[in-house]
Symmetry: C2
Subunit: 184 residues, 2 copies
DNA sequence: GTTGGATGGAACGATAGCGTTCCATCCATA
DNA sequence: TATGGATGGAACGCTATCGTTCCATCCAAC
C-alpha cells in the first residue's frame, strides 16, 4: 500500500479529530479530506477506534527525553518546558482533552494512551530518584503525588484555563513545585 | 408547562451526556429516556447547546460555600474536601471532562461554564486574602498560579489518572499545596 | 363540567455516516 | 513494455437524528 496515502489519512484523521472531536469524527470526511477513497481507508483500518489506537501508538515513539540536568531544579525546569512545548500545539491540546474525556467510554483508547502515561511516569520516576541520590529529596516522598504536582498545574493552565505560560510563569511553577516536592 | 416533565428531561439530558458524551448526545434519545414526546422538549429548548447552557446555569446555583476555617491549612483542607466531594460523582466527572473538551468547539458552553469558574476563582481569592490578612502568606503571591495549584492536582488525580484520593492523600495534598503557596 | 393548553406519540422529508462493493485508472515492479 | 495490485470515485442499503407537524388524550383551573 502506498505510504503517502497512509500519511495523508493519518494527518487528516488527527486534523479532523482536533476539529470536531472524536465522537463526531466521520471516517468518510477523513477520507475526503485526505483526497482519498473510502475504500483505501477501510483497507487499512477496520474502524475508528482501531485507527485511533494504531495512530496513537505510532506517535508514542516521538516522546522527547531529557537527560540529567545536574540538579532537581534544572530537571524540573526541563520537564516543564518540554511539557509546555507539546501542550502549546493547538492540535495536540484539543486531541488530548478530547482523549481524556473519551477514555471513559472507549476502553481501546485507554490502551492506546497507556504508553504515553507510562513514559511520562518513568521519566518523573527517574527525576525523583536522581534527586534522592543527590540528597535533594527525602527517600520517603510519595512518587505518585509528586507526579500529580509535576504535570497537573501546567496542564490545567494550558488546556483548561488557557492562561499565559511565559517564562516567568514557568519559573514560578519551578519554585512552587520544588517546594511542594520537598514537603511531600 | 409541567414541572415534572422539565425535571425528567433535565435528568435524562445529564444522564445521556455522561453516558455518550456531548457530541453524540441525541435529543431524540433524551426525550425517549425521559418518557416524553420530542415535542415537549423542543417546546422548551430550541437546540442542544441552548439546553446545555440553560441547565448548566441552573445547576450553578448549587455551589457549596465554605466560610473561614480559622487558618490557611484548614481553609485549604476544606476546599480540597469540597472539591473532592463534587468530583467523586461519576456523572459530574464525566460531564466535566467532556465539557472541558467541548468548550473549544462550542463557545456557548464556555459562557455557561463561566459562572462556575468565577465562583471557584472568587472562593480561592477570599481564601488567599484571609491568609494574607493572617500573615500566613506574603501579599505579593501570584493569585492565578495559586489557583492552578489548588485545583489542578486533585482534578488530575480524580478525573485523569483515576487514582486514590483517601484522607491520607488529601492531607499530603494540603501539606504540599501549603508549601507551594508559601513559595509562590 | 367545561374548557384550554400541555401532553405522548407518530410521522414527515432531509441529511449524514455506516461498512461494503464494484470498476476503470494508475503506477511500480519485473 | 507488460502485469498485477492499489487507487479514486461512485453507488449500494441501512440506520439514526434532525427539526417540524399533526392529533387524540389528558388534566388542572375555572
Amino acid at each position: 500500500m502506498r505510504v503517502e496515502v497512509t500519511d495523508a489519512l493519518s494527518r487528516a484523521f488527527f486534523s479532523e479529530w482536533s476539529r470536531v472531536g472524536y465522537a463526531a469524527l466521520s471516517l468518510e470526511r477523513v477520507a475526503k479530506a485526505a483526497g482519498v477513497g473510502k475504500a483505501a481507508l477501510y483497507r487499512r483500518w477496520p474502524s475508528k477506534a482501531a485507527m485511533a489506537s494504531d495512530l496513537l501508538s505510532r506517535v508514542g515513539l516521538t516522546l522527547t527525553e531529557t537527560g540529567d540536568m545536574g540538579s532537581l531544579e534544572a530537571d524540573v525546569r526541563a520537564l516543564l518546558l518540554a511539557f509546555r512545548r507539546v501542550l502549546r500545539h493547538r492540535l495536540i491540546r484539543r486531541i488530548l482533552t478530547d482523549l481524556l474525556a473519551e477514555i471513559g467510554r472507549e476502553p481501546a483508547l485507554e490502551t492506546a494512551l497507556r504508553p504515553f502515561q507510562q513514559a511520562r511516569r518513568d521519566r518523573v520516576q527517574q527525576l525523583i530518584e536522581r534527586a534522592i541520590a543527590r540528597g535533594e529529596l527525602a527517600a520517603t516522598v510519595d512518587r505518585e503525588t509528586i507526579l500529580d504536582f509535576l504535570v497537573a498545574p501546567l496542564y490545567w493552565r494550558l488546556a483548561v484555563t488557557k492562561g499565559r505560560s511565559d517564562i516567568a510563569y514557568i519559573e514560578r511553577l519551578v519554585r512552587m513545585t520544588k517546594a511542594a516536592m520537598a514537603a511531600g
